[in-house]
Amino acid sequence: MEKFLVIGERIHCISPAIRKALAEKDPAPILKRAKEQIEAGADYVDVNIGPAEKNGEELMTWAVQLIQSEFDNVPLALDTVNRKAIEAGLKVYNKEKGKAIINSADAGPRIDLFDLAAEYDAKIIGLCAKEGIPRDCEERIAYCTEMLEKAMEVGLDPSDILFDPLFLVIKGMQEKQSEVLEAIRQITEMGLKTTGGLSNVSNGAPKHVRPILDTGFAAMAIQCGLSSAIINPCDKELMDMIKTCDVIKNNILYADSYLDL
């Protein structure tokens, strides 16, 4: 198995500092967060510019070029619901270090993003949802299959799709967690890759509890086959757990200093 793929989530317009930086086109806060995440071991950096209805194309172009030129063409996940902004980002994206990830399509209104992925030779996150939250594992698998068919239609390699079973908050939706894990297991058994927004699971929990919820869920999900996640790579305990899971699954070779790598 390939080692776990870490997508860093910290460039997100929900953060006031980033929102301000995006509004003012101020490179410093964005580059700072990119740097922190790369140094902490992120394989990909997610760039969430929000809906950016007015200037999305210009903003994504700016952000992609800014981060890639500063950090040796680090691979990026282009994260917005604005299709035109994603396309603008893909146009200037340099795939020397890895294909771009489109974040994200779904089995509903955003399924046409698969066309973009095929056209620009990008990877794509496929949210196993259509409208609202999928009820159970079965519904997730149905959406997964629909997206897979769409990918076949447009000539996208299944290995370029990261299926997101939609992680749910533990506090309030405890009874749904096993369904999510089961979906990961079944998608993995089909030979497909998976991902998800890990911090969803700890939403609303006290600050000191969140890391252990995230870390525990990550370990269980990785055992079910989870091959990547959108996470905060600066959370050292979480990163240590991911490395440990990679060692236990024999995805990386053990050495006494494996946590330092």
Binding site: E2, K3, N251, I252, L253, Y254, A255, D256, S257, D260, L261
Partner: protein
């Protein structure tokens, strides 16, 4: 439909490490696939074969070899020159056996003089091996690395016990290449590279010596170790294991009963020298097939056979 050959592609690539200087310098590694798998990808630089010489007269060696080298073997610099002119290997390995505390216990300064004389006498790249005594090697290499500064030698080796001093002297202070020695232990092989990196030695300046054994002496374990290391380097793109591998075959094969026993003691086994060559060639061929980028042999006949082998396959 036309037949399409399936190809196993790997993400990782073995580092290319240069030893020596000038026209005769050699490059190890650089491949993106398993040894000799040219149908799958770039096999990088061809495997290199070196000849072993020692800093003291090799009393223990088989008579045929001692006769072949004659008086040249009494002076390491003369000996090295003889090897370069007559045998033309890819490199020479000078083994500083005289420094062994259980033998002549020569001083680091004496060793440095010998190494300097040898490196100045030849054009070929020089690999310098210690005694295997970690403490003594650390002291010896401190002087020797300085004496041969500028010649880009490879030092065998830094171990878990002495990597700090050997790594600092060879890799940092005097710009040589560091051999990282682990004894057939994949986890330690990786750990040692990480430790050298943390010390400041560049991954590109490290060659791994992951242990050796003579064929028949736990050799399968060695083979599986090389295999696992290469698959981690290529398939898992593990940067901490993408170093070329050197295997000092002769250090092991001439010390086992099949090569030590005199013909008078084991008449069924035949000529001792022939046995030694067979043992050396068998081991060297096997380890090259699984992934070693360089081997050290002792007998000219072994060198000739191995060069031919590499030539035919690479």
């Amino acid at each position: 439909m036309a037949f399409k050959m399936s190809v196993q592609e790997y993400k990782g690539k073995i580092n290319e490490v240069e030893i020596g200087k000038g026209e005769k310098a050699i490059k190890l590694g650089g491949q993106q696939t398993l040894a000799f798998y040219d149908f799958d990808g770039d096999t990088g630089n061809s495997q290199k074969i070196g000849i072993e010489i020692t800093d003291v007269y090799p009393e223990e060696w088989v008579t045929g070899l001692k006769e072949f080298y004659g008086d040249a073997a009494k002076n390491p610099a003369e000996w090295a020159k003889f090897v370069e002119e007559k045998l033309n290997p890819d490199f020479i390995c000078l083994r500083l056996q005289g420094a062994d505390p259980n033998e002549l216990d020569k001083s680091p300064e004496e060793c440095a003089e010998v190494a300097k004389a040898v490196v100045e006498a030849i054009q070929l790249p020089l690999v310098i091996a210690g005694t295997g005594n970690h403490e003594k090697d650390a002291k010896v290499f401190e002087k020797v690395t300085a004496a041969v500064e500028g010649y880009n030698c490879l030092f065998l080796a830094a171990t878990e016990e002495n990597y700090k001093s050997v790594g600092a002297a060879a890799g940092l202070a005097y710009g040589h290449k560091v051999g990282a020695e682990s004894s057939v232990d994949i986890n330690l092989a990786k750990q040692l590279n990480v430790l050298l990196d943390q010390l400041g030695v560049k991954y590109e300046d490290i060659v791994m010596h992951i242990g050796c054994s003579a064929a028949g002496y736990g050799f399968e374990y060695l083979v599986s170790t090389v295999d696992r290391i290469r698959l981690a380097a290529l398939a898992q793109n593990d940067k901490t294991l993408q170093m070329p591998i050197i295997t000092p075959v002769s250090f092991e094969t001439w010390g086992v009963k099949e090569t030590i026993a005199e013909e008078s003691d084991a008449p069924d086994w035949g000529d001792r020298e022939e046995r030694g060559i067979t043992m050396e060639v068998t081991t060297a061929t096997s380890i090259l097939s699984v992934g070693a980028d360089a081997v050290i042999v002792r007998h000219p006949k072994s060198l000739e056979t191995m060069k031919d082998f590499v030539c035919q396959f690479a």
